[in-house]
């Protein structure tokens, strides 16, 4: 699964996710990637999120939208909300994987609860970073 999230100079957010699914998946099986609120979500008031991992669990916990809900209703920061969803909601319920997320201030977080996640980020300052493991 691949994905991208961005905050532009006007503070607008967007998210995109694309996948071939799991190797040897059952034909017709759909994971979280195309499910808005599970694998992909964006709202300028909170965050943009793109997920990757064990799709069924991400769907059951509406992972992407849950981060926005925590920010909106509990006043959590992007990082705190994303960390809770990845490490607690997903990580303690057989939902291995991770996500990338950005808020309207341009803050980025890339949490995951498995061995590694192929990920990268760049900011307006031109700081490129690509990572696989921790």
């Amino acid at each position: 699964t691949v994905g991208a999230v961005a905050c532009d100079v006007n503070g607008n957010l967007a998210a995109a996710t694309s996948t071939g699914g799991m190797t040897a998946k059952a034909p017709g099986r759909v994971g979280d990637t195309p499910i808005i609120g599970a694998g992909t979500y964006a709202d300028n008031a909170t965050c943009a999120v793109s997920c990757t991992g064990h799709g069924e669990v991400f769907i059951r916990y509406t992972a992407a939208a849950e981060i926005a809900a925590r920010m909106r209703h509990a006043g959590q920061s992007l990082e705190d909300a994303a960390r809770h969803v990845v490490m607690e909601d997903l990580g303690k319920n057989d939902g291995s994987g991770g996500l990338i997320a950005v808020d309207a201030k341009g803050n980025i977080t890339l949490p995951f609860n498995c061995d590694g996640m192929y990920r990268g980020s760049v900011t307006q300052d031109g700081d490129f970073e690509t990572l696989i493991y921790r």
């Binding site: 699964t1 691949v2 994905g3 991208a4 999230v5 961005a6 905050c7 532009d8 100079v9 503070g11 607008n12 957010l13 967007a14 998210a15 995109a16 996710t17 694309s18 996948t19 071939g20 699914g21 799991m22 190797t23 040897a24 998946k25 059952a26 034909p27 990637t33 195309p34 808005i36 979500y41 964006a42 300028n44 943009a48 990757t52 991992g53 064990h54 799709g55 291995s96 996500l99 990338i100 950005v102 201030k105 341009g106 803050n107 980025i108 890339l110 498995c114 590694g116 996640m117 192929y118 990920r119 990268g120 980020s121 760049v122 900011t123 307006q124 490129f128 690509t130 696989i132 493991y133």
Partner: protein, 174 residues
């Protein structure tokens, strides 16, 4: 004015850490970097977040190392099924496609659903029709095929046939 930022992820299907060679690892870093660069170029010129994420994901879909578009994994029936979605934070507009095969960039098909229909998600022939009507490029099976993904399918099917349990969560990832 805000400061722009962009993040990407690029999953590789079933590849376990022990199988990740230095050359392969360098390829993943390069692919991620290219995806960041195309999105960053758009954002640096004042372009929209939606255009940036679309371009970045297209770059990842075009790179066979990653599991989407060209290089997508295979189902138990030896075919490829692709899913994609986009969401615009300005207005909560969203578009998604599922179970499709043909468009070179499924993410652009998802965006076409968002921009050209009243719907959020389309599957099957109607999703492909929206992509065709939008003028998106299509590719045949040879374009999307990669030997590595085919070998991964055979390996997984063999394990299942032999009743070997593999609880490695990496196998459940896209």
């Amino acid at each position: 004015m805000s400061k722009f930022s962009l993040a990407v992820h690029g999953g590789a299907g079933t590849i376990l850490p022990k199988n990740l060679t230095p050359a392969l690892e360098a390829g993943y870093h390069a692919g991620l970097r290219r995806a960041l660069e195309v999105g960053q170029e758009i954002l640096a010129k004042g372009g929209s977040a939606m255009d940036a994420v679309t371009a970045s994901v297209c770059a990842l879909e075009d790179e066979p190392l990653f599991n989407s578009g060209r290089g997508a994994v295979f189902t138990t029936e030896g075919v490829q099924e692709m899913d994609a979605s986009v969401m615009d934070g300005r207005n909560r507009m969203a578009g998604a496609v599922s179970g499709i095969f043909g468009p070179r960039n499924p993410i652009r098909a998802a965006r076409a659903v968002m921009e050209n229909t009243d719907h959020v998600m389309l599957i099957g022939p109607n999703a492909l029709k929206v992509a065709r009507d939008a003028g998106l490029p299509f590719e045949d099976a040879a374009y999307f095929f990669t030997q590595e993904r085919w070998d991964a399918l055979q390996s997984t099917m063999k394990m299942r046939a032999e009743g070997i349990e593999d609880n490695d969560p990496a196998r459940r990832h896209g």
